[in-house]
Symmetry: D2
Subunit: 341 residues, 4 copies
């Protein structure tokens, strides 16, 4: 069998572990040939690839990033490119293509699968927002990095009697905020799923100081939004250079809480450290299992499917189903994190 693999979308710890696992399983156990496309879908569309053997994946298991490079998928360009992709798959004699990516990638993968290409998807996102799998690799690493930062910030906040507002990743969902906030014992967790009321948030933090505590930690997902009417964010959503991205919710909440509480508040924006570097052991195991099972699915001819974790098992789920909804933080999970004051 001849298998092509590619990584697409934002960086995510564990991508290399999947690539390595695909190569090991396919080459050693099945005697397959494996090629890797460069820079995501772009490599498939342009026929830009390299051969992957055991030596080429030596030493990458614990390395962050992706040895194949990545790029953001543009669905439109991909739609136009279906025939080109089909052409390269045919020319290269590929029996299976394994794209590893997030929501956008999987939508593209589904498109290609429906066009008849032999696709086996592997889900990837540090945000953990893909509905068809219990967890995605990369999430545990992101939570671990955020938790380590929160652990450090707690002692500083306490020494200085401050509010620390820590912005973590999560544009559409609050999983990283929820888990790192629970793990570090944050005093308020603000997630996109539940628009916040600034008065309520101020009250929660203020209550802590009233109770004699010397500090507070607020974790906020980058995608968190105020309840309409609660706080004005419309104007001034950009920084002095017109770049929206550099003045986020974390900074604004720190300013707001400082003014309302009369306590020093400091923002910390964790940013890209959450998606880089060595994956945790958890993510390496999950990524390795996903790669292994993707090869097995290819050999069984199960195309148009996605590897997924359900409990402790890896199962195959239809791509079409996987891309329908975002997995958001349910109310009962959020409630579990409320006993923190």
């Amino acid at each position: 069998m001849r298998i092509g693999v590619l990584t697409s979308g934002g960086d995510c710890p564990g991508l290399n572990a999947v690539i390595r696992s695909v190569v090991h399983r396919a080459v050693v156990d099945h005697g397959d040939e494996v090629i890797g496309f460069h820079d995501g879908w772009k490599g498939l569309l342009e026929g830009d690839y390299r051969k992957l053997d055991l030596d080429s994946v030596a030493g990458i298991l614990a390395r962050g990033g992706t040895m194949l490079g990545s790029s953001r998928v543009q669905p439109a360009s991909l739609r136009d490119g279906v025939e080109r992709a089909r052409g390269h798959v045919a020319d290269l004699g590929l029996d299976a293509v394994i794209p590893i990516g997030g929501e956008g990638t999987l939508k593209a993968a589904n498109l290609l699968a429906q066009a008849g290409l032999p696709i086996v998807g592997v889900p990837k996102t540090i945000d953990n927002d893909i509905a068809s799998t219990d967890v995605t690799f990369g999430f545990d690493t992101a939570v671990t990095v955020a938790t380590e930062a929160l652990d450090r910030l707690k002692t500083t906040a306490e020494s200085h009697q401050r509010v620390m507002v820590v912005e973590v990743m999560g544009r559409h969902t609050g999983w990283i905020a929820l888990h790192s906030g629970m793990a570090a014992g944050a005093h308020a967790i603000v997630v996109p799923e539940r628009p916040f009321d600034i008065d309520e948030l101020t009250a929660i933090v203020g209550e802590r100081f009233s109770a004699g505590k010397r500090f507070a930690i607020v974790v906020v997902a980058e995608g968190a939004k105020p309840r309409p009417g609660s706080m004005e964010l419309e104007e001034g959503g950009k920084d002095i250079y017109g770049h929206e991205r550099f003045v986020g919710i974390g900074n604004r909440l720190a300013v707001e809480l400082e003014e309302r509480l009369g306590k020093e508040a400091r923002p910390v924006i964790l940013g890209h450290v959450q998606r880089g570097g060595t994956p945790t052991a958890y993510d390496r195991v999950l990524a390795t299992r996903f790669g292994w099972h993707a090869v097995e699915a290819a050999h069984r001819g199960e195309f148009g499917m996605l590897t997924a974790l359900r409990g402790t098992d890896i199962v195959m789920v239809p791509l079409a189903e996987a891309v329908q909804t975002l997995k958001t933080v349910p109310a009962e999970r959020y409630a579990e994190a409320q006993n923190v004051l």
Copy 2:
């Protein structure tokens, strides 16, 4: 409601997180009172306890060990102590007792539950061998510590062209060996579930050197045993002082592989570092959720049950069912770790 909590058995990262979560949920949200028994079942049998309020659990979330102390359970003494336990529960006006512990503790908990005491168990073991839950807290920390050690040993092994034989915990099951071995890319993983053949193991490692590789990493669970007739361990199972525990399987395998392969082999026995210290973010979240749901179960009157993780949900499982079998590494999970050469 009045709740008693205790921790019993071997140390496990996350115990404090459970205690804290029980206190937070019970005291803040339900207005309950919580007491903690000292040193496991001993505290219950002797009525030795302290009151636990929010202040007493401040700062313990990320701390290893258990603020309540622990001791190994002796089922016999507990059996004789049922009436004493009942007496203390009555005298202290307890509506629920939450023991946090491993297999032995849960068997004892089941005994008390069957005698009519209001027990809600929380499973705990770094070995991950409790069948009724997908994972136990402590396991992720143990795997993380072992993986970090394996990562370090790889570069040393490579520089010196050595075989490193790394003994990890796991007396009856090979979960830590399996996961840390997969996470670190070990070249052979030896687990109790599958008695090893020393010739076969030598061949696997030797093949790697034949293929031009400069080193090999072997992970072995402390409970691993040779296939009958494969290697003599019977005699000499003790060290010079007659203490069995200090000359384990790791040391013996290193000696054996060195002699058979003619390559330097070095044993590393990770030991107790695997069960101490700060829990990982994963374990803190799981432990916090277990504590939260144990309190909920108590309030719903669901006694004789155990908190368990199933997929992403925490569910309640009968104690009687939980203690029947050990969760061992199944053949198909072991197979996933075989594409490592």
Copy 3:
């Protein structure tokens, strides 16, 4: 002997280790009494303190922050408060006062020493800018945290073909930038001691891409400034809320480099994580030694002095000398970091 200790100024990993060491050495070895003033000089001026015995410092060695609290020193208020401080020292029967702090604190300490109070200073700053000591504790932890972040960011930058601009602490000196940049192999390091030319910086980074590299890491100290005429920072130095602190040099450099190079650039502002949390082993040892020697100096009656590391020895240096100049990065140290492309 009766000794008072206080911590003042910005948070710094190792403060607790000094406090613990003072107490251990003084109480156990000399039979002294030790008290700790709350919240820095404020505690001394207001006579707000607690007794410190062995139990009160148990478990704090590895904890970040300061168990005594801290506050920024206001030299003016302290000048007015000399007599009040003298009064409290007399009333409390103190034979020595050990303030642990940075530049501001040591200036204040010098003031009090010159007024005749029995002061033994312990230098503290993550910035490493105190001239009279080879190193200050806290610095190694800050560099370690920054390096770990840089390690993580490298893989992400590479996967996405980006420039990462990482802002680290250092308002007046570039020590953290220099060391973390060298440790992580940054491709450009921008320090306050050497105002940067934006054209030159762009050229350095651009050259890397021209040479076929896929990414670049730029480390910039928060206090870095452009060479006059090189880049406009005068206007717009504040964010939309008028808060200078949230739109720093890191964000601006990222914007500038992205525009000039036509490559994606992303800023990461590490912020307060650099000064919080568990100190490194190096910092714990240095802090412990400082505390030990401060007590010895007090017993020898060496007042108006400061503990300092010189090579591997702890020596005592006059406070008056210690506060005269800032230790900046010399040209030859900066040159050592230039072979990085």
Copy 4:
């Protein structure tokens, strides 16, 4: 200029950082050519080497081990090989040879230097026992690894009311034991420089329990020896297979303390994890500076010298002087660690 580099002796975090720094400084800044000999002196004696350019050292800064391989030096074979070494140096047109190694390597380097070869040595040892430099790279990493383990073991020891006896590296000197013991707050530190009296050690640990403490941590260097007459180690110094190395002082002390104190005692032998894996930021900076200055010394024609850290400066020291004495833990440094109970 043409420079040869080699790494010899036991593994040590930072070796790759030196190699990279030599290549960067020599190739980029001086336009030199650099070759790397394989497997230490062996490569020089056999003329086995590879060319090292910027690409060949990409990504190795943070990696443990040595990309060139290492082997233990046999002084005798080297003595016989002086002429062969001289021949290869001449044939390869080398203007300088930079061996990176520990005591044995530096003795060998001195031998070659005295025979007229253009040698610039770089000291390397995790044990920190080279007298002519304040610190060697690798030491900080070893101390960090040991301290992290000790931090973890403390909570476990406390939960179980145990004595933990932790054996760290240090065959001839106790630097790792001293620093990790101080950093982690060990209750007794046993070093080779000061033969221990088992009665005294038992008394120290016992006193702690008498004072109501629940646990104790003893750090012991692998080379620690009992005071003559204090404890019998003569007989039984080997394990059941006749291998001395697997039943070390840590195991024996645990057995002895358990019997004498009537408290559970557990040995943990940290072993090779102390010398493998990613170097700390401190070690990467020191290693990078050593490499840089070795190249500079070569260009200045300063042969027969060794790079050394003195305070914050890198200086050159005669090899002949460097290998005369071992740097042992002085009594006053040991005294600083005694205020720990």
